[in-house]
Symmetry: C2
Subunit: 197 residues, 2 copies
């Protein structure tokens, strides 16, 4: 692992554990350990580290969405493994989600990027829900209903981790299961109970 990669990894872990407010470039350098000068040789500005980490997440997201596309879904629970992977990705970069508003006003570039990501994801989800309807997994959805479902999936997906940090504070498998079942429960009211093709 190069120093650059090591910095990103250390930063990500410290950001996740201590938050972005109390994690300084000096802390990151000290815990590797390298000198502050060395760290700033690789990343001139602190925000460059955050930007690079966001890029990592974005890449992983895109890869995951590709894989989902070719999935054949015959029942709601076929989504569980997808939500599982989603959980890991969010959890590994949870500082981004916990501080998203702060970061996006600090680094406008990330805000723009994230909005475009959401736009694309919204389209993909629409297609995805339509496919589920066609397969008879979920009932027919009015446009407004479908939009509402997607909005709830976004909010729960992005902020379950914050809610959990504030309230139940599940860890490990318990956390993952609660995340998955909460996301699942956004869709479950719309499951088609009549046995049609």
């Amino acid at each position: 692992m190069t120093t650059k990669e090591k910095i990103l990894d250390t930063a990500r872990i410290l950001f996740n554990e201590q938050g972005i407010r109390s994690t300084t470039t000096r802390h990151i350098a000290a815990s590797m350990p390298i000198s502050p000068g060395n760290l700033h040789y690789h990343f001139r500005h602190t925000e460059d580290i955050v930007i690079a980490l966001f890029e990592q997440l974005k890449k992983k997201y895109d890869k995951m969405m590709e894989e989902v596309q070719e999935l054949s879904l015959t029942q709601l629970d076929d989504l569980v493994p997808v939500f599982d992977i989603l959980y890991d990705q969010i959890n590994n970069y949870r500082f981004l989600f916990i501080h998203f508003v702060e970061i996006s006003s600090w680094i406008p570039e990330i805000k723009k990027d994230y909005q475009q990501l959401l736009l694309r994801r919204e389209e993909q989800f629409k297609n995805w829900l339509d496919a589920l309807t066609k397969q008879g997994v979920i009932v027919n959805l009015a446009d407004k209903t479908r939009e509402g479902i997607i909005k709830k999936l976004f909010i729960v997906g992005d902020f379950w981790i914050s809610h959990n940090a504030l309230y139940k504070q599940y860890t490990g498998d318990e956390a993952r299961q609660d995340f998955v079942s909460t996301l699942r429960s956004v869709l479950s009211p719309y499951v088609n109970t009549t046995k049609a093709k």
Copy 2:
């Protein structure tokens, strides 16, 4: 308005507008304007300001929940005015919701308080949903389903504002309407469509 109240109001507005990271006690003092020394005469530590603001919100929440208790609900849309008031409260203290995880690890006292608030709210919501079922507004709910609904109401209620800041960025009435309709849509799948008493 006393100086103390003025400080809290100014701090709240600056926190909402600029975030807690870039709002310092000096900024608050300068924008009133008073001297930094004067500000720290009224609030020895920065966190005392945040704690006082959280107390304000808590009081308003409790007052609102009392009022809701005596509401008679015969249809789902009777909840709209409740969600409306909720929106105003959250919006006026949105910095708390946007930085909740950060604040709660910075000031453990607030974390504890908020967890207890949620515990109480969870009980109230349970009773409330049961009442709605008895009145025939919503269908019978399994325990797990009811818990899931409440969890979604919490997550959407607490983080719609963050999601909106990141994505659509609605303002004014548009914002309020989207908040209300998103919260409403958590319950709408469970509305009782059969005409029973």
